[in-house]
């Protein structure tokens, strides 16, 4: 419902925005305007995720109010962020994993697809790399004892 309302409002004001942009001589393809749109979407998505995670509309409003009244990143520096479920080692694992994905993605875009590179190797190399990847997932994956699966973000999706 949240995104339905946002998207509907966006469609409704689109013509108005186009008209306003042309009158104010704003180039909608220019970087500043695009950056503004990215920030706008980021805020809408973050607020949306907060609303979806709240137990009710009133709780969501209260959370938003507290965010506005007590802004800050103290939990990142006083250590309380580590008491929410991920400890420092988990965060390292997530960071290294994300960096690996970014690196492989960048290599795939600028040089050669890692999949193609693997396909050109012999079966022994492929098997070793596959088993290594599975072992990394088995060891560093979030599953098993003490792990509670996070609720789906968008309703039942």
């Amino acid at each position: 419902m949240y995104y339905f309302v946002i998207i509907s409002l966006g469609n409704l004001v689109e013509l108005l925005a186009q008209e306003l942009a042309s009158r104010l001589r704003v180039n909608r393809d220019a970087f500043p305007y695009q950056a503004l749109r990215i920030v706008r979407t980021l805020v809408i998505v973050c607020v949306g995720e907060l609303v979806f995670r709240a137990k009710g509309f009133d709780v969501a409003v209260e959370m938003l109010r507290r965010m506005a009244e007590q802004p800050g990143v103290s939990s990142l520096v006083d250590g309380t962020v580590l008491s929410l479920g991920l400890d420092a080692q988990d965060i390292w694992a997530v960071g290294v994993g994300t960096a690996c994905v970014l690196l492989l993605d960048a290599i795939g875009e600028r040089l050669e697809s890692p999949w193609d590179v693997m396909a050109s190797k012999g079966p022994i190399v492929r098997c070793v790399v596959l088993v290594f990847a599975l072992a990394v997932v088995a060891v560093f994956g979030a599953y098993g004892y003490g792990y509670v699966a996070v609720d789906p973000m968008y309703a039942s999706f």
């Binding site: 400890d87 080692q89 079966p123 022994i124 098997c127 070793v128 596959l130 088993v131 599975l134 072992a135 088995a138 060891v139 560093f140 994956g141 599953y143 098993g144 004892y145 003490g146």
Partner: protein
């Protein structure tokens, strides 16, 4: 032809590498002692690993109903047989089977009491398969130990030096009265034990018999979790398996639980006062029916007397 042989070779290579790496990692990731600080999962329920070999006469398996209701040290003091409660909160049958299998590696219990509350706790086929995989490759259970690995983990053999002083019993003395107006209402309905659960129960019963232990199904008094339909369903399964079924919910006069004072969560679980009554009744029943040996004066079991002294000193 050559292509097929080559494919087969690659598949065998892959399988071999997978099995070897899983086995190797399992050796490293296995906790090297059965203490919580060594990474043991559910250390209290696994405390039997630290008991002297072949020293446990009765093993209790099940969920929280079990560790709140059966006190091995009280049964030791009153009847003289040894027992251990291998129970965890919300336990599902595959994990019960795991605990039973672990216990039967080093113990030879005469009786295995399988509490029936978890016969009705549903789980997926995947839960069972994953549990089996964890038993074969412990790295899947203890993988989170990567944060605590030391050099010693690569060359030390696992051992078990710790046991729970209360032998798995976890007493609570709080009181929250239960509404028992519907407790024990007669019914011809039959709540069928789910097929998947029956399969795992069958495995457990077979394991018990293969190791010379007598399996016994037992329902702990609980107005919240028990009803006559479940009794009928459990009786049906017990008859099919040829296993004795003891329903303590029907022994109301003999055990005489006071539901206004002897439960801490309104009839879901017993508190310590209720557990004392149940342990007394069950201790007598097991001792009588299965001719359990009184070991109280056996010097080999002196540690049990010491544990009981600490139990008494704790006001239990």
């Amino acid at each position: 032809m050559m292509r097929r042989i080559r494919c087969l070779g690659v598949v065998l290579l892959l399988m071999g590498l997978l099995l070897a790496s899983a086995a190797g990692l399992s050796v490293v990731f296995m906790p090297k002692d059965n203490r919580a600080e060594c990474g043991m999962v559910e250390p209290v329920a696994n405390g039997f690993l630290g008991e002297r070999e072949h020293s446990i006469d009765v093993l209790f398996v099940g969920d929280s109903e079990v560790y709140r209701a059966y006190s091995p040290l009280q049964m030791w003091h009153e009847q003289g047989f040894t027992s251990y409660v291998a129970a965890t909160a919300g336990q599902i049958l595959p994990y019960g089977n795991t605990l039973l299998s672990r216990a039967l590696e080093n113990q030879s219990p005469q009786v295995v009491v399988i509490e029936t509350d978890f016969l009705y706790r549903e789980f997926s086929l995947g839960d069972g398969v994953f549990r089996f995989a964890q038993d074969v490759f412990p790295v899947l259970e203890y993988h989170n130990r990567w944060k605590a690995l030391t050099v010693a983990d690569f060359h030390t053999r696992p051992r078990a030096t710790w046991t729970d002083d209360y032998k798995g019993y976890q007493p609570i003395k709080d009181v929250k009265a239960a509404d028992v107006s519907d407790y024990g209402a007669a019914s011809d309905e039959v709540a069928r034990v789910p097929r998947n659960n029956q399969l795992w129960l069958r495995l457990m019963v077979r394991s018990c018999r293969a190791h010379g232990a007598t399996p016994v199904l037992m329902s702990t008094p609980s107005p919240v979790n028990w009803n006559m339909a479940k009794h009928n369903g459990t009786q049906l399964v017990a008859d099919e398996l040829g296993v004795t079924f003891v329903d303590l919910n029907l022994a109301r006069e003999e055990i005489a639980i006071d539901w206004s004072n002897e439960t801490y969560d309104a009839g879901d679980h017993l508190n310590h006062a209720g557990a004392v009554k149940v342990s007394r009744y069950v201790g007598q029943l097991l001792s009588r029916e299965y001719c359990l040996v009184d070991r109280r004066s056996d010097p080999a079991y002196a540690l049990w007397n010491a544990s009981y002294e600490r139990y008494r000193e704790a006001g239990l």
